[in-house]
Subunit: 304 residues, 2 copies
């Protein structure tokens, strides 16, 4: 029994109205595996970096009990690098640099020791690579969660649709749900997307929370209203990692557990945005997480 | 003990992607009093119309037990008329026509029989007129709820701030909360607005629900995800009317009752948008309302 996270492990340079960073460690698999590690202790990652990636960063993942046996280090190559600048509203950003580097020909090799995978998180990557991972697992995991983005809808819709067919939970934002379905109403969009393969759809709405769709059921999760959003980078990956980490912990896949998983994922994401990059989610205590989850409870509870 | 609603009673002509109407009856006081009437049976209105306003429409308000003694009918004058066209996303609209007519010199006269007012809903009107109503009530109501909009912030900020000082609950949308406070973060905006007079602030976020702020407490209410929004006109007024109608029914002003009032108000608003104008909220049963409120409960409930 283990949880496999696939995605980028990379460098980011981020500028927000609050400041800017040099190259710091980021990447979907970094955020997601760190978040998952607070709930589950058999988290494996598959990713690729160049030999410019600091060994102490890998050691820090290991300290969080994230197994990096599947992290390929390519000699003489450079790690994926993304740089972006957020606008004042923090809801939109400009990409300044995208250097694929090692990611350009990433072949996701699954170590034999990872083959007991029950829970699979496909972080945002080309849908072709995501599909390859599914194919290379000898047994179909109990739960496959996939994150993707508008970029793949623009340039690889066919591959995306083929991969979506194979998964259980799709996590996208509201604009992406509209793009993928061609429907403006999120209810209609969800109905359509749930015929494309996934049994569950999570629509992330940032500061407005998230919606979970399954058959005819809908769950609306609040977002924690925050005085400051310092840096939104990685919030979606952190959400997804917290979500699947919690699911792996409880073990049983059903709508009620997914509702709670969304709350735990949202709680982790609410920490993530409080500092630059992965800083805040490297150093959380279980008490802090429990207290934050209680804030979500009191935020949305009413008795009629 | 009674509930007083002040606002417009007017004509609207509405165009949405689903169709367009001729002149139909609208206005903040119409929506709000109809919504309130499902929870409370002593609803009084103060408003003004011209003699072009159909008597049967007044009779229909009376059929809903809305007392129209304070509805002034100006001989030889015309009722307020607004015409607007919604964009495809239904979240934005263009105003095509605004004919103030009788509204231009509206003097809100409070009938003596309304002076037992415990709950006061100040529908969207000039803040000067809203303030006059407060001054003309011999006893300060137990709860004063005020709705306003960006228009008054643009042209009458000083009067608006003077009126806001006198009230208990302010209902505005997220853009208006940002404009009024000069803060982008809604948490910071709320903190600032709660120093301006109101003890409670409701920020309406349309399809994303609503936030209630009071001291250090926040309640996040979901919106019902709808397959079709047919016509959003009056949804905010219906929300406010349902909110204060429920508060008048339970009688006690506290945070928990307000949370429920927001759910009931949201339920009424979710009906409102299903048809053009006031059509849907003229003909609801208590069973329909109860069932809709239950949808809000199951939408947002989780057990951690």
């Amino acid at each position: 029994m283990s949880l496999l996270v696939i995605g980028t492990v990379a460098f980011d340079a981020i500028e927000t109205p609050f400041g800017k960073t040099d190259k710091i460690v980021g990447g979907a698999a970094t955020y997601a595996s760190l978040a998952a590690s607070y709930f589950y202790d058999k988290v494996n990652i598959v990713a690729v970096v160049g030999d410019d990636f600091p060994e102490e960063e890998i050691a820090d993942l290991n300290k969080h009990k994230v197994n990096t046996e599947g992290l390929q280090v390519k000699a003489g190559e450079k790690s994926f690098f993304w740089s972006g600048k957020y606008h004042n509203d923090m809801n939109s950003r400009d990409t300044l640099v995208t250097d694929l580097n090692v990611l350009a020909d990433f072949d996701p090799i699954i170590p034999e020791s990872y083959q007991d995978c029950d829970f699979l998180m496909l972080g945002n990557l080309s849908p072709q690579v995501q599909q390859t991972v599914i194919e290379r697992l000898k047994n179909r995991p109990k739960l496959i969660v996939m994150d993707t983005m508008n970029f793949w809808m623009d340039i690889a819709m066919e591959e995306l649709l083929a991969t979506i067919k194979l998964i259980d939970v799709l996590t996208i934002n509201d604009a992406e749900a509209r793009q993928l379905s061609g429907e403006y109403s999120l209810v209609k969009a969800a109905r359509k997307i749930l015929t494309m393969g996934p049994k569950y759809l999570i629509i992330k709405k940032g500061e407005h929370g998230a919606l979970l769709f399954h058959e005819d059921h809908i769950f609306s999760a609040p977002a924690l209203p925050l005085a400051e959003v310092f840096d939104p980078t990685g919030a979606g990956d952190t959400f997804a990692g917290g979500f699947i980490g919690y699911m792996a912990k409880v073990g049983t896949v059903n709508f009620n557990n997914m509702k709670n998983a969304i709350i735990f994922g949202s709680a982790l994401a609410s920490f993530c945005v409080e500092k630059f990059g992965t800083e805040k989610i490297r150093d959380l205590s279980q008490d802090e997480i429990t207290a934050r989850v209680q804030e979500f409870v009191s935020l949305s509870k009413f008795e009629i």
